[in-house]
Amino acid sequence: MKNAVTAPMTMIQALRSAMDVMLERDNNVVVFGQDVGYFGGVFRCTDGLQAKYGRSRVFDAPISEGGIVGTAVGMAAYGLRPVVEIQFADYFYPASDQIVSEAARLRYRSAGEFTASMVIRMPCGGGIYGGQTHSQSPEAMFTHVCGLRTVMPSNPYDAKGLLIASIENDDPVIFLEPKRLYNGPFDGHHDQPVVPWSKHPMGEVPEGYYTVPLDKASVFRPGTELTVITYGTMVFVSEAAAKETGIDCEIIDLRTLWPLDLDTIVASVKKTGRCVVVHEATRTSGFGAELAALVQEHCFYELEAPIERVTGWDTPYPHAQEWAYFPGPDRVGAAFKRAMEA
């Protein structure tokens, strides 16, 4: 977006701006969810939107995830483009049936007669002392579902561009927002002061309409020695680990988890010969397993070392042991070193 008027925005403001832009551009866009209307969302992501667009476009919903997603599917079948919010990704489970059995399969089972052009926004991820039900990263629950697109931004610029692209997309999109990144980037150094987005170049966001394509990863940090495949908060943790270990990592921010940008991944691993996958979610059958399998399948002859996965432990997300659980820069850096030594 060259020459566009930009403004410093947090991820919260960028997401709100995306919804504002799309509410303005398309009369079929409606925004609803728990505490989303008058109050403007528990994270302020929809602040002011109801006042601007009215209660029939932006409204509060009963505490019923199945109802929020189910009514959105019906609205999408009518022809609206609902953008609904599940307050925490940890609470999407009651809507599983509507997401997996309905939204994801509407187009397929009706041979295109009915479609579910809708976005389900969910704040996700840990690192905030959220405990078991305010910290989960359930992306693998969605990437396994055929018919869904799963997206996770890591910065305000991408957050706005990806959300606009998701709202415009004709497939159902699960839009996961790392709430740890809402106000500023976070590299895992919880003992150091948090820098706000206003001090980060990616906090400079165009005020108007623009998109970030859904099926393209970004090379967050170019490098030659090691490919890091990651997304969300772990992008910044990986960046810190690269700096601290001195390893010249190529950090790939997937942005769209599925369907993903395989070309960027494969080109990078073929170049570096080494690969570390990093995510907050638990390890077993996590999305990292799919990433590792894809890299192994497509880059077998170029790989110089086993693919490493640095992830959350296979436990529920604990409260007191937050920093022993969260894959911080030390743990990520150790994996980088192992991959280089192999």
């Binding site: 019923s64 079948a77 009651p94 309905e102």
Partner: protein, 410 residues
């Protein structure tokens, strides 16, 4: 009361099991013409008495009586009669085709033909029904092409759903018939959302949601009622109480000593409880609810009291869990026989016409089946291409699906 005896778990049981007779006195029945007809702007709380009685128009002699008896166009009645007959004959024919292994599966709606038929005739073009797998009468009332329906059942080369869906899971958008899902109750909430969308856009269309007695136990039933009430969505919430959910008696779904209509009142939704085998009552109640919704007066829940006369599906044997002759004792009888009596009384129908219509419909269905089979059957392998299996997962086929299609060599 300080004395504690050991607690006991209550597990509802039907009165009739194989070899004995069902005691149908559990049905809260009313005589024809006895239940009042409230104005369409009635307060939901003021429908409590109606939700625990039964709206009926046709009496045992076939007369239309009481406040719900309306002047109904005679052509509509004759069309309704023919549509119910068509539904029943079609069902019977498809069961034969299933037994002949031409199709893998089928579900009849024997005994429930009046509900979808008369309801559909109370709606207008543009309204959207969110059916279950047992509302094929909605399609017949909307004159859906039978060949197309049978092609879906056969999963053949002309199947509009390209062989992706189990038989009877139709999708006919142009006729206001939403894509059927195997997951129970999901459509009940979606209907409310569709109705909310119509209201958001300032449209005049309404939604009609369908669910069975058993599926009311699913969470989406409760969710739909809450959302319909909260947003006053223009939707008719139809609960078809056919007394059975596969082998489970409606008491096990929560119907013991309470009606499903009462759930509506409890949720702040105007509710009616209606004789589902009384074509005239179904039509009048549906019109009332549609008018209420269209006038922005809010949702209506209607419990249709009927009986699932046939097996749950072609994979089911009801003789294992209920009396084989149960339907013959069901107090509300057979919807086709009851309308036939009424029409005959009015001079709008005769035995000769009934006979002739039966023959005509049988011939029409056989011809449609023949035409559909000319595009193949699941049995003879003339099915949609394997390549089409990868289409419509997303709007555009993503790279990984393109590769998987290539791996299959198609």
């Amino acid at each position: 009361m300080s004395q504690s005896k050991p607690l006991t778990l209550h597990v509802p049981e039907p009165t009739g099991r194989p070899g004995c007779k069902t005691d149908f006195t559990y049905l809260q029945l009313s005589d024809a013409g006895k239940v009042r007809r409230p104005p369409i702007d009635v307060l939901p709380s003021e429908t409590a008495d109606i939700a625990s009685s039964l709206i009926r128009v046709l009496d045992d002699e076939g007369n239309a009586v009481g406040p719900w008896a309306e002047e109904v166009d005679s052509e509509l009645l004759r069309f309704g009669m023919r549509t119910m007959m068509k539904t029943r004959i079609f069902d019977a024919r498809m069961v034969i085709a299933q037994r002949q292994k031409k199709m893998s599966f089928y579900m009849t709606s024997l005994g429930e033909e009046a509900i979808g038929t008369a309801h559909s005739l109370a709606l207008v073009d543009g309204d959207m029904c969110f059916p279950t797998y047992r509302q094929q009468s909605l399609l017949f009332a909307r004159e859906a092409p039978m060949v197309e329906m049978i092609c879906q059942l056969l999963s053949n080369e002309a199947d509009p759903l390209k062989g992706r869906q189990l038989p009877v899971m139709y999708s006919v958008r142009r006729l206001g018939f939403f894509t059927i899902s195997g997951n129970l109750a999901t459509q009940f909430v979606q209907a409310v959302g569709w109705a909310m969308a119509s209201a958001i856009k300032g449209d005049t269309k309404i939604a009609s949601a369908w669910i069975g007695d058993g599926a009311t136990a699913e969470s989406d039933f409760n969710t739909a009622l809450t959302f319909a009430h909260v947003y006053q969505a223009p939707v008719i919430l139809n609960v078809v109480n056919n007394q059975w959910a596969i082998s489970s008696f409606q008491g096990l779904a929560g119907g013991e000593s309470v009606t499903f209509a009462a759930r509506g009142v409890g949720s702040g939704i105007a509710a009616l409880r209606v004789d589902g085998n009384d074509f005239l009552a179904v039509h009048a109640a549906s019109k009332w609810a549609a008018e209420r919704a269209r006038n922005n007066l809010g949702p209506t829940l209607i419990e249709w009291v009927t009986y699932r006369a046939g097996p749950h599906s072609t994979s089911d044997d009801p003789g294992k869990y209920r009396p084989t002759d149960d339907w013959s004792y069901f107090p509300l009888g057979d919807p086709i026989a009851r309308l036939r009596k009424h029409l005959t009384l009015l001079g709008l129908w005769s035995d000769e016409e009934h006979e002739a219509t039966t023959k005509e419909l049988e011939a029409e269905i056989i011809a449609a089946q023949k035409e559909a089979e000319s595009s193949g059957t699941l049995a003879n392998g003339r099915i949609p291409s394997a390549a089409s299996m990868f289409e419509d997962v997303y709007k555009e086929m993503p790279e990984h699906l393109r590769q998987q299609r290539q791996q299959l060599g198609v």
